[in-house]
């Protein structure tokens, strides 16, 4: 299996009003070729920040990649030149942004927007790029005659399909899909994801599937990581995390779901709120809300424990042998 992405000890901060937002805190993550990794978390967890970091799109003065490395196919993203990054984005790594209504340029036809990417990245003529754009539209179920139309002439579901066509036009190795169907109705979501699964499988694309929906992850992903306050608190295969959930936050997420196939009356929400990212609590960031909290949780930040490849960042799973010596 090829290792396509490796994120190590990443720290990303945002700066505003003399306060510092600790958006990503010591995050490490890796992905292999052809795998679909679901990244689950609620608003403010840092998921979009992670995606933007992978594309090296965190901009000063508001944001800064403070430390850590990200390697794509063993190449250090942070050491790439502007020119190299331009080549990378849209071709090797592509992104589907959250809101299809605003992700497309309203003054260009959909055909032009896809052709633009193809022309930039592949050594073809403009006419050939346009043909490729038409072909991509057909692939996503949009008749190629509509290539000359503008985004406003399409419905939400079709716009999102255009965005997908755009993201896949140059056959990227890694696709960052940031809540690709959140803005869509559930029956259109089913259509769009069905299509995406098909395209991804054909090209063996690796996907980072960012979502807040545990249901979508179960149906579309091979692996899953839960994110909380800028950290990955649990990671494993779908079987591992859904079959034997470790982290109390992940358990809390499952407990909050009004699972429509069960009959219980009251839901079990996680009490309280996400911590203020400019003022994270001492020790474990989840400790103020955790039903299993112990004294050590409020003092020491938990390290990663890995059991059969299933990772969890929680004192409940800490082994007895002294891990601090291994750091």
């Amino acid at each position: 299996m090829d290792r396509i992405l490796e994120v190590n000890d990443l720290h990303v901060h945002y700066f505003s009003n003399r306060k510092t937002v600790l958006a990503i805190n010591n995050l490490s993550l890796s992905m292999d070729r052809g795998r679909v990794l679901g990244l689950v978390g609620e608003t403010g967890a840092g998921k979009t920040t992670l995606a933007l970091s992978i594309l090296n799109m965190i901009r000063a003065p508001q944001g800064k990649i403070v430390s850590g490395t990200i390697k794509f196919n063993s190449i250090d993203i942070f050491k790439m030149s502007k020119h190299e990054l331009h080549d990378l984005r849209g071709k090797d790594i592509s992104m589907i942004f959250q809101d299809p209504m605003t992700a497309l340029n309203p003054v260009l036809t959909v055909g032009d927007q896809i052709a633009e990417t193809v022309f930039k990245h592949e050594k073809v003529s403009k006419a050939e790029a346009w043909e490729k754009a038409e072909a991509m539209l057909e692939t996503v179920g949009i008749p190629q005659v509509r290539a000359r139309e503008y985004p406003h002439q399409f419905s939400g579901g079709m716009k999102q399909r255009v965005v997908i066509a755009l993201a896949l036009a140059c056959n990227p190795k890694l696709l960052l899909a940031d809540e690709p169907t959140t803005a869509l109705d559930v029956t259109i979501q089913a259509q769009v994801l069905d299509l995406m699964r098909h395209l991804i499988k054909n090209h063996n694309t690796s996907v980072l599937f960012i979502t807040h929906s545990l249901g979508l992850v179960a149906e579309n992903c091979d692996e899953v990581a839960t994110m909380y306050a800028g950290e990955i608190v649990e990671y494993g295969t779908i079987d591992q995390v859904y079959g034997n959930t470790f982290h109390p936050y992940t358990k809390g997420l499952f407990g909050s779901l009004p699972d429509y196939s069960e009959g219980s009356n009251r839901l079990k929400p996680i009490p309280g709120l996400m911590p203020d990212p400019t003022n994270l609590p001492k020790g474990c960031y989840f400790s103020p809300r955790c039903p299993y909290v112990m004294p050590v949780c409020k003092e020491e930040h938990p390290q990663d424990s890995i059991i059969d490849g299933h990772l969890v960042k929680c004192h409940l799973y800490r082994r007895n042998n002294d891990e601090s010596k291994n750091r």
Binding site: T187, Q191, P269
Partner: protein, 324 residues
């Protein structure tokens, strides 16, 4: 047998219609719907964008004027109420809005937003009574006392939604239209708010119309459900019966589209063809026919009526019996 034992529904809606005149023609937002809600119960109204559910909610509290049809609340015809009668009705019928960011005034404090109805309807005699009532409402919805003078921008979506709920409760209503009250919230906050709404219903005997696109939420909170498509009701039944066995092809597709957060739950998913047709100048016949996997030629010719095909199950489909 006392007459109180045979209670009529608190809300009776008959052949309700709302059309909007747009450049291209007439948009049939709500096209002849009828339903009842029993006192103390929750009716879930489910559908995707453009089905007319929000417009229906607004018609009930008369934020829109109906073009046709009747809305009878506790024996009173809402559509024909004069302004004075409407004022009285509004103390009984309230609304919670979808977006906790745009439905409360950002320039007012929490207490001012919650207390405004009390002032308008002169429900309190002096400032002590006002403060006491507002504090009590805040406690009911779980807003801390110290937030009395806070501004909405200082609070997260969940807390803002609680402000909206407290405001809706201020006049001690009997009936609340909940228009997607948790859609804009994170999953764990959704659960908190849903629990709150259910507790309030139990405590105050409230009746809800719960509008949502999220089937898993509606299953949890509703006794009965109606499914809407392009301004019409396509199915109506008790919640558990609908989930156990959806009849209308659209209901079947809707239920099958829900992603299940469980291992090995992958099932036969019904993928619908194409997109929702336009609600502007709709053609005769069944509005779902263009997307229906079971459509026959006559489906696009005759309008299907909502009919009770087995006791308690209402379906608008010429061939509903096939799906029993």
């Amino acid at each position: 047998m006392l007459s109180q034992d045979i209670e009529s529904p608190i809300l009776q809606v008959s052949n309700l219609k709302k059309y909007f005149h747009v450049a291209k023609g007439i948009l049939h937002a709500v096209d002849g719907i009828s339903f009842n809600i029993e006192r103390g119960k929750t009716l879930g109204m489910v559908g995707e964008s453009g089905c007319g559910k929000s417009t229906t909610g607004r018609l009930l509290v008369r934020l829109h004027e109906a073009d046709e049809g009747s809305i009878i609340y506790d024996g009173k015809e809402v559509t024909k109420a004069n302004p004075r009668e409407m004022l009285a009705l509004r103390t009984k019928m309230q609304m919670i809005f979808q977006d906790p960011y745009s439905s409360i005034n950002p320039r007012h404090t929490v207490s001012s937003i919650i207390g405004e109805p009390l002032k308008i309807y002169k429900k309190v005699k002096n400032s002590q009574e006002y403060e006491s009532k507002v504090h009590s409402l805040m406690a009911t919805v779980g807003l801390a006392d110290r937030l009395y003078d806070a501004y909405p921008h200082e609070l997260d979506g969940g807390r803002r939604q609680r402000i909206g709920i407290a405001r809706a409760l201020a006049l001690e209503p009997q009936f609340i239209v909940c228009d997607e009250p948790v859609s804009a919230l994170d999953v764990s906050i959704q659960a908190q708010i849903l629990n709150l709404l259910m507790d309030l219903q139990e405590k105050f005997g409230l009746t809800y119309l719960f509008i949502t696109h999220d089937l898993s939420v509606v299953k949890h909170i509703s006794n009965d459900i109606i499914i809407m498509y392009l301004g019409q009701i396509v199915e109506r039944s008790k919640t558990d019966e609908l989930f156990a066995h959806p009849i209308h092809p659209y209901s079947q597709a809707l239920l099958s589209a829900i992603p299940i957060p469980k291992l090995n739950a992958r099932k036969e998913r019904i993928i619908l063809k194409s997109e929702v047709s336009s609600p502007i100048n709709p053609k005769p016949g069944c509005r779902f026919a263009p997307r229906c996997n079971f459509a026959k030629p006559d489906c696009s010719e005759r309008d299907p009526l909502l009919r009770e095909i087995i006791p308690g199950r209402f379906v608008a489909c010429h061939y509903a019996e096939r799906f029993l």
